[in-house]
């Protein structure tokens, strides 16, 4: 399956390579570099490339290309999903997934890669299992290890590997038993010029942080589970219970994980929390333009909108901007032509406004299209779909855990066309 992996940084240096079968020369990456040169954006490099002897499947995340070389037929999603899992594991182990951190922990990274694949086929990808075999670095342990020559490597078979709950290790112990669930919803929407909704949907995830002793069996139920249309689960969730009773029954992995993600059924109208009045115009003559944006609250369910931010990708011809904002700060990046207006909290009494002129490159033709606005916002303690967790029950253990549920609404891909 996966023969080799190369990690390539933004500027095109291979800073790590790992081979699971015979060694494949680095030169295979040249085909990739060629494609990368052609693509303007790193995002535009095709994830699957064909070379005379190999297939290259790559992902781009956190400014690193994870490039795998493959020799035979394999479902491309299989590889892509695995590469992302590798990235997730790094994130899990080192707190971030960057070139520096990978270089600093190159031995652990290598040990991880060794465990995750055997002969190119995934072996252990559950973070709980990996953590039992290879302990994540922390300062104390690394100090102790240097002094004593101790190791990061566990010498027992991870209990999860053999049990029916491979995602959870045995013998978990906590003094404070707690289980937190964050219901995070994102509004994906496209609004057109007049403010009418072209397309809107709500995507939600339930992120869990469970630190419970032993083998707890949890059941999470909702007040209104019918809202959920399409769902996908962490492997721990018992699908049959969901099918029959619409409750989430599961033995949780230890630590942080995504319990489920869902989509709210399309019958429900999506509440759009803000409205945007905008007027962007480019004058035919005089090589300048005007911009005027006002944002106001629409359906916020009585909560305050925070973290409001507007991002505009200006046409190439816009040289500088001369704007004033009634609230928040704005910046314009000359190189990337991105205007960012960071508003912060939305005050319904005094609506934030950004207006001013745009100066254009002299002689350049009037841009065809007005740039669309990307809106970012957050509403604490609200799930915009109205989803509510009803209760969390625990079976199988005797103690009383501390339980908590938090709601958050965010703008996902929230775009206003102008």
């Amino acid at each position: 399956m996966i023969d080799s992996l190369f990690l390539i940084n933004h500027s095109g240096d291979i800073f790590l390579e790992k081979h699971w079968k015979s060694v494949i020369s680095r030169s295979v990456c040249d085909y990739f570099f060629e494609a990368k040169e052609k693509a303007v954006d790193p995002e535009n490099v095709a994830p699957v490339l064909q070379t005379p002897h190999h297939y290259l499947i790559s992902i781009y995340r956190d400014k690193i290309f994870f490039l795998s070389a493959i020799q035979t037929e394999v479902p491309p999603l299989f590889v892509i999903e695995f590469l992302h899992r590798v990235g997730d594991t790094f994130l899990d182990y080192f707190g971030e997934c960057s070139e520096t951190v990978i270089k600093d922990n190159v031995v652990i990274v290598y040990e991880l890669l060794e465990e995750m694949l055997d002969n190119g086929f995934p072996l252990a990808t559950e973070s709980n299992v990996l953590k039992e075999m290879i302990k994540p670095p922390n300062i104390l342990r690394s100090v102790v290890n240097t002094l004593t020559g101790g190791s990061n490597v566990g010498n027992t078979l991870p209990t999860g590997q053999l049990s029916n709950v491979p995602w959870r290790r045995a013998g978990v112990k906590y003094t404070n038993n707690e289980a937190y669930f964050d219901v995070i919803e994102e509004i994906d929407a496209i609004l057109d010029k007049s403010g009418t909704t072209v397309f809107a949907e709500i995507q939600g995830v339930i992120e869990a942080c469970v630190r419970l002793t032993g083998m707890p069996d949890l059941t999470l139920s909702f007040m209104n589970p019918r809202l959920l249309d399409d769902v996908s689960f962490h492997p721990c969730v018992r699908f049959k219970r969901w099918e029959s009773e619409r409750v989430l029954s599961f033995i949780p992995p230890d630590g942080n994980f995504t319990l489920m993600s869902y989509q709210v059924s399309s019958q429900n109208l999506v509440a759009i929390p803000v409205y945007v009045k905008q007027n962007i115009s480019f004058l035919e003559a005089g090589s300048c333009g005007r911009l005027d944006i006002t944002i106001g609250p629409k359906q916020t369910m009585g909560k305050t909108v925070e973290g409001l931010m507007v991002t505009v990708h200006m046409p190439k011809a816009v040289l500088t901007v001369n704007l004033t904002a009634t609230q928040g700060t704005h910046t314009y990046d000359l190189a990337t032509k991105v205007l960012v207006w960071d508003i912060g909290k939305l005050n319904p009494q005094k609506l934030p406004n950004l207006r001013g002129s745009l100066s254009m490159q002299p002689g350049a033709p009037k841009p065809e299209e007005n740039p669309s606005l990307n809106i970012d916002l957050k509403i604490q303690q609200l799930a915009i779909s109205g989803l509510k967790v009803s209760r969390l029950d625990m079976y199988g253990e005797k103690y009383k855990p501390f339980k908590g549920v938090k709601y958050l609404t965010k703008a996902g891909k929230f775009q206003v066309r102008t």
């Binding site: 800073f15 479902p75 055997d118 078979l157």
Partner: protein, 1120 residues
């Protein structure tokens, strides 16, 4: 940093320039050492005897490997440490070894013995990792060793090791394809494995080594389907893809009838599906015969086909995109049309994932939308494009939108397209224009609208947009040129401005083609073009020549000179294509005396009516590749791609999937059954077993009566009935052997027609069971049993075992014939008996009190064998009185229900290989607990559970006891299951202490010593210990040992034919013997006492793992 330089010296060999190693202590790097002595410091560190130094060195070396630097010259120094005690050093050495062994084959051989030793280690982790590394070393010379190791590991006790063995198979295969036949044997064996852990890996191996051996799957098909949901996600992908292929060869096309219907009423597709029609026609032709067949016989889906579809569906909810995609492609390729729709939602969900995932999913969706447009129509808006999408995603979404366009939604789609055209991303705009063109060709109603829209784009400021529009307009105009001469005129004007060659060429072609419609402008365009001819691009030049030729033919008066001028210019062009074209055209159109007959037809040649081009999706016909595959994505066959076969015209024999071994089917089929409905354990058991046994018996499936009960159990019980009634329960239990003997002759006449002696062993079990139940009850209402029987029947048909049943019916022809009348009655009776089981919580002989007669009878049996009963008595009686109870469910968690279990050390009646576990229920709550039973049993491979019968009612404050049997396969793996009451389910698990995995075995001291002599070496484990103060007399030691393990004491001195008890030796030696429950391996324990309470404990057992664990347990028991 150093990475760029690393790139240069990759694999430079040892001769490469010694560069300073980054991240190293500068004093130890290459700075102060010459090339020659490079890595000396590392070698020194590796040679030291401090683990910390070795570790540090190995870490540096691995860091070098990671950066792609050459560290091969360190091989000898590193390989020495392969047996290092420090586990991390060892692991890093393995990493190094696997990387460089191929280059240094001779030296690598030094390490082999270490791994061979590791393969025998009692720790499964070490065994697995030894096999893993051994198989990863790509050295041809060790192929036989690898082969041996894989074979051995494939039958290892630990599923983890077996999984590793499965992984090793493709490694060995790629190293030496000659081994294929032997490897297939191993694969065949591992395919039969029952654990989810192994399933994914072995199917992977199957796909790499012998994907063509589809016959190996037959027997495992149902098991794989049933296990699928519990297999880890990566394995799921592989299994699903393989099963897709399998299903294509084994089942009939579920859409045969539908394509038939379409033939009659496909009117609705007429408009927009021009490209689809052909495609479907082809299909129809191909399947014409099959269709006519289907006409006669309505299509019925094979239950196995249904099983696959049903069991994969939940996986659409997986978090893993690859799994979702795998299920989606399975449904696309295998499901009836009406059911394919379910995958749309899941695929649309994947569009929220990473952009790479989106890219792949959209490619597949694009292919699907061509065949099954309706499926994605409700999700049209999910394919709307955002300005922030990467271009490649935008273009794919556009493709999908175009495929989805039809009369009803075209206006919305076109409105969307309008916004896209204004995008700043010009590649995307160009693609949009093409998409509009395709919509226009496919949907007649909007053709004019689209054309007008495109014409407006001609005045766009961006040249690319205009050019693309021209190209598309050209194609559209070709469909109905006469109506649009004004557009052609408009375009003619554009030649002054447009510089994009393709667009210019297109305009010129249009003018030439339709010069009759623009007779005035055309010559003028040619004039301009002739002027700029030398500066044009090649494709434009070619079109200028074409234009000239066409004008010459239609309007030679005005254009003769111009044409000649152009042809002269072309004659001296640098490009030979253009020179050739000019020469060719000149000969054709300019009449000379030399020119032949051809020039007469010049007009026909040039001005022939050209068919309008068909704008079709690049994804058309891609679905002949299996969706979700790399080949599909690239639209080219990738190496190792397995073609998706066409549906067979007639289904192959479905009976090949019947499984013979009853023991295994029992587990899986019961699990499945449980999911659907809580079943009476008795019935389901006897059913599964007898059915499966029968299938092995005969292949005759001619006769099929209306009767469906299990023939064997009936006939068996019939003959026994009279006897049984008189026999008491106790007797029945007392000695199985004698009863079996009694049964045999009675049964013979009934079974005569089946010449199967070998299957008797299995047949007997259900018999006994039904007998038990029969003897339990005689009175039961008929009506109740009637409903029961019908219910169970319907269930069975769902259970995908109907074939089994049919055979069963057919097989015992004689008795069936004789007893048809009786049958009905008897069947009902049987059912009713089963019903009664549920009424009485503990009726069956399985439920035995702790200190029952049985243990006594056992003792008497043993007494009969032994001469010195005095020595024996305490040994065997002791454990039953000192049974240790374990908590299964605490009163609080169980909400009032508390459950304890203990190992009763009785042989389990129904199955000698099972350990009897006595479960003790106490209802502490104030309300009654109803229908206590087990569900959802999850076991490791090979393990089996015989559930206790359902306890219908446990009143408040009452207690009840039940017995269940578990075959632990001689391992201390836990048996997990759910304990269910009428209201709640509790997850519980039972883990046996190692001492309970054996049963006492009587032998004399001489025999003991003889056997011990054969179990020396690795099978012997010895520990020295100091006995606890309280534990130094004979009685205490014997009691401690027998409590810790279910063993019997070997009478001492019995070999001496003693009439008088010999004087007790000063330091007596105590011996105990037993056999493991499942495999009957001998377990011999010796406690040799010495002075001062010192003692030596020796355990001999061929199961080393059991031996090691037992030593620990006994040690603990004796020292505390």
């Amino acid at each position: 940093m150093s990475t760029s330089s690393a790139f240069n010296d990759e694999k430079g060999g040892s001769s490469s320039v010694g560069e300073p190693e980054y991240g190293h202590d500068p004093a130890s790097g290459g700075i102060f050492s010459s090339d020659y002595k490079r890595h000396d410091d590392l070698k020194e560190m590796l040679d030291s005897n401090k683990d910390s130094l070795k570790l540090e060195a190995m870490k540096r070396i691995v860091a070098m490997i990671a950066r792609g630097k050459n560290a091969s010259d360190l091989f000898p120094a590193v390989v020495k440490n392969v047996a290092c005690k420090n586990i991390e050093v060892k692991k890093l050495v393995y990493v190094y070894l696997v990387r460089y062994a191929e280059e240094q084959q001779d030296l690598a051989l030094l390490s082999i013995s270490t791994f061979q030793r590791g393969l025998k280690d009692p720790n499964q982790l070490i065994r697995a990792s030894a096999l893993r590394v051994l198989s990863s070393i790509r050295v041809t010379i060790i192929v036989p060793i690898m082969m041996l190791a894989i074979k051995e590991a494939a039958s290892d006790m630990s599923p983890y090791v077996r999984k590793t063995a499965a992984h090793a198979i493709p490694k060995l295969y790629s190293l030496d394809p000659e081994q294929k036949d032997q490897l297939i044997e191993v694969i065949e064996k591992l395919l039969a494995d029952k654990t989810t852990l192994v399933a994914g890996s072995v199917v992977m191996a199957f796909e790499e080594v012998c994907p063509e051996r589809i016959d190996l799957i037959h027997k495992n098909y149902r098991k794989l389907c049933n296990l699928l949901i519990d297999v880890e996600e990566w394995g799921q992908v592989v299994i699903i893809n393989m099963l897709t292929r399998y299903a294509r060869t084994q089942f009939l096309n579920p859409n045969i009838n539908e394509s038939l219907l379409e033939e009659g009423g496909g009117g609705d597709k007429k408009f927009y599906a021009s490209d689809e029609d052909e495609d479907e026609d082809e299909e129809k032709d191909k399947k014409a015969e099959a269709v006519t067949m289907a006409k006669r016989k309505p299509y019925v889906m094979d239950p196995d086909h249904r099983l696959l579809l049903r069991n994969t569906k939940p996986l659409l909810q997986s978090r893993n995109a690859a799994v979702v995609m795998a299920v989606a492609q399975l449904y696309f390729h295998l499901a009836p049309k009406a059911e394919v729709g379910v995958i749309a939602k899941a695929l649309v969900r994947l569009l929220r994932s990473h952009s790479e995932v989106q890219y792949v999913v959209l490619q597949n969706v694009a292919t699907m939308t061509i065949k099954r447009r309706g499926m994605f129509e409700p999700y049209l808006k999910s394919f709307y494009i955002r300005s922030t999408d990467p271009t490649q995603i935008k273009i794919l979404k556009l493709e999908v939108l175009t495929n989805l366009a039809n009369e009803t939604n075209i206006s919305t789609i076109l409105r969307e397209f309008q916004t896209y055209i204004k995008s700043m991303d010009k590649d995307f705009v160009a693609a949009t224009i093409q998409a509009i063109g395709r919509c226009a060709t496919n949907i007649g109603e909007v053709r004019d609208t689209c054309l007008n829209g495109l014409v407006q784009l001609l005045s766009n400021r961006d040249e690319l947009v205009v050019a693309e529009s021209v190209v598309v307009i050209k194609k559209l105009l070709q469909m109905q040129p006469e109506k649009h001469s004004d557009i052609i005129k408009h375009m003619a004007k554009l030649t002054d401005n447009i510089q994009v060659p393709m667009a210019r060429a297109s305009i010129l072609w249009l003018i030439g083609e339709y010069c009759e419609h623009v007779p005035k402008i055309a010559p003028d365009v040619l004039r301009k073009m002739a002027k700029s001819f030398t500066n044009e691009e090649d494709i434009v030049k070619l079109q200028i020549i074409n234009l000239a030729a066409k004008l010459y033919l239609t309007n030679s008066k005005q254009t003769k000179l111009l044409t000649q001028y152009v042809l002269n210019l072309a004659k001296y062009d640098q490009n030979y294509d253009i020179r050739d074209r000019a020469r060719f055209i000149r000969q054709l159109i300019v009449p000379t005396e030399k020119s032949g007959a051809l020039s007469k037809y010049a007009k026909k040649l040039f001005l022939a009516l050209k068919p309008a081009p068909v704008l079709e999706s690049p994804f058309k016909d891609r679905d002949h590749f299996q969706l979700g595959s790399l080949s599909h994505l690239l639209n080219a066959k990738a190496g190792g791609y397995q073609e998706l076969p066409d549906w067979p015209e007639a289904a192959p024999d479905p009976s090949v999937r019947n499984v013979e071994v009853p023991e295994w089917t029992k587990c899986s089929s019961r699990e499945k059954r449980k999911e659907k409905k809580v079943e009476k354990p008795f019935y389901s058991d006897s059913e599964g077993e007898s059915g499966a046994t029968e299938s092995a018996d005969s292949e005759s499936d001619s006769a099929s009566g209306s009767e469906s009960g299990s023939e064997d159990s009936r006939s068996g019980s019939e003959s026994d009935e009279s006897k049984e009634a008189s026999e008491s329960e106790e007797e029945e239990e007392e000695d199985l052997k004698t009863k079996k003997n009694k049964e045999k002759p009675l049964k013979k006449p009934v079974q005569e027609s089946e010449s199967e002696q070998s299957s008797e062993e299995e047949v007997r079990k259900p018999e006994r069971k039904s007998k038990q139940s029969k003897s339990d009850s005689e009175s039961e209402s008929e009506s109740e049993s009637e409903s029961e029987s019908s219910e169970s029947e319907s269930e069975d048909s769902e259970d995908s075992e109907p074939e089994l049943k049919k055979k069963k019916k057919g097989a015992p022809s004689k008795p069936a014939f004789k007893a048809t009348k009786k049958d009905n009655k008897k069947e009902k009776k049987e059912m009713s008996l089963l019903d009664l089981d549920d009424f009485e919580p503990a009726p069956s002989p399985q439920v035995t009190p702790v200190n029952s007669f049985l243990s006594n009878s056992l003792v008497t049996d043993l007494e009969g064998l032994s001469l010195s009963d005095s020595a024996l008595m305490p040994a065997t009686i002791a454990p039953s009185s000192a049974l240790k109870s374990y908590e299964l469910l605490h009163r609080i968690t169980g909400e009032g229900l508390s459950v304890e279990y203990c190992f009763s050390r009785q042989p389990f009646i129904t199955d000698a290989n099972m350990v009897a576990v006595q479960v003790h229920f106490t209802n502490n709550s104030t309300s009654d607990t109803k229908s206590l039973h087990m569900e959802d049993v999850k076991l490791q491979s090979g393990m089996r559970v015989k559930e206790f019968p359902e306890i219908e009612l446990l009143p408040a404050g009452e207690t009840a006891t039940a017995v269940m049997g578990i075959d632990f396969c001689d391992s201390t793996q836990t048996a997990n299951f759910q304990l269910c009451t009428h209201t709640r389910k509790f997850f519980v698990s039972i883990q046996p202490p190692v001492g309970e995995l054996m049963r006492p075995f009587f032998m004399t001291e001489n025999e003991f010593k003889k056997e011990q002599g054969q179990l020396m070496g690795m099978n012997e484990i010895t520990e020295k210990l100091i006995l606890d103060v309280k534990c130094r007399n004979e009685h205490a030691i014997v009691q401690k040992v027998t409590t810790a393990a279910n063993l019997s004491r070997v009478p001492c001195g019995s070999d001496k034919e003693c009439s008088t008890p010999p004087p007790p030796p000063k330091y007596p030696v105590y011996r105990f013997a037993g056999r493991t429950v499942t495999s009957s391996s001998l377990v011999l324990v010796t406690v040799a006492t010495k002075d001062q309470g010192a003692a030596q404990l020796t355990v001999n057992c061929e199961k080393m793992v059991i031996g090691t664990m037992l030593v620990k347990d006994i040690l603990l028991a004796l020292t505390q």
